[in-house]
């Protein structure tokens, strides 16, 4: 009985942790992305307007969050990105990050 209760508590806290970590809403991210982001990165993050711009599709969600927050704080500097990031709330950033991370695109390096 106690074991079952423990399992239940463990399961609930696991679910809670996962939902906190992935708090972005991809549908809202897609909507936001079709605004300014899409002009340079494409709605799904697979297009680059200029070759010095990164592909975002398939990038890690948490890395995208760190990058956008760094642009917003000024820790990372880019004429275009620094100004756009100023307009983003934490929720906007989470939503955009989860949207781009779920598109097909970038991969891990592999060596044979």
């Amino acid at each position: 009985m106690n074991h079952a209760l423990l399992l239940l508590v463990g399961f609930i806290s696991l679910v809670a942790t996962v939902s906190v970590q992935a708090s972005g809403n991809p549908a809202r991210g897609q909507e936001l992305s079709s605004g300014v982001c899409a002009s340079c990165h494409g709605v799904d993050g697979n297009m680059v307007l200029d070759d010095t711009y990164p592909i975002l599709a398939g990038q890690h969600r948490d890395y995208l969050v760190v990058a956008l927050k760094a642009y917003r704080s000024g820790a990372r500097d880019h004429a275009v990105m620094s100004s756009f990031a100023q307009n983003l709330s934490d929720q906007d950033i989470e939503d955009l990050a989860v949207w781009f991370s779920r598109q097909d695109g970038l991969g891990e390096l592999t060596f044979d």
């Binding site: 002009s39 592909i55 760190v66 970038l106 390096l109 060596f111």
Partner: protein
């Protein structure tokens, strides 16, 4: 309307890109980027303090890799490990590595 113009511009730039491609050697890039796989080759490997996933770079745009590595090398972009790595790279090394990474995109296979 503006979006359509931008998309059209992007498409035409995309077609013109090979003409501007950097003179990187992807085969040499493959060899010298072996070190990179120590962090970028491990799925969901985490950067520490602060903790976040090391970015995926296979298939990344060539010019972005060049710009990022040069920014780390100059110190304009901060990251202790990446600055230390980029400090050892020549312009040619950077072009070669970028040529290799972009060659890993699904479209080019």
């Amino acid at each position: 309307m503006l979006n359509r113009l931008l998309v059209a511009l992007a498409l035409s730039l995309g077609l013109a890109l090979p003409a501007f491609a950097q003179s990187g050697d992807p085969e040499r890039g493959r060899v010298i980027s072996f070190t990179c796989s120590g962090c970028h080759g491990i799925p969901f490997y985490k950067n520490v303090y602060p903790s976040y996933s090391v970015p995926r770079i296979a298939g990344q745009s060539e010019g972005y890799i060049v710009a990022a590595l040069k920014a780390y090398r100059s110190g304009a972009r901060k990251h202790a490990t990446m600055q230390a790595q980029a400090n050892t790279l020549s312009d040619q090394d950077i072009n070669d590595i970028a040529a290799y990474f972009v060659s890993l995109s699904e479209d080019s296979e």
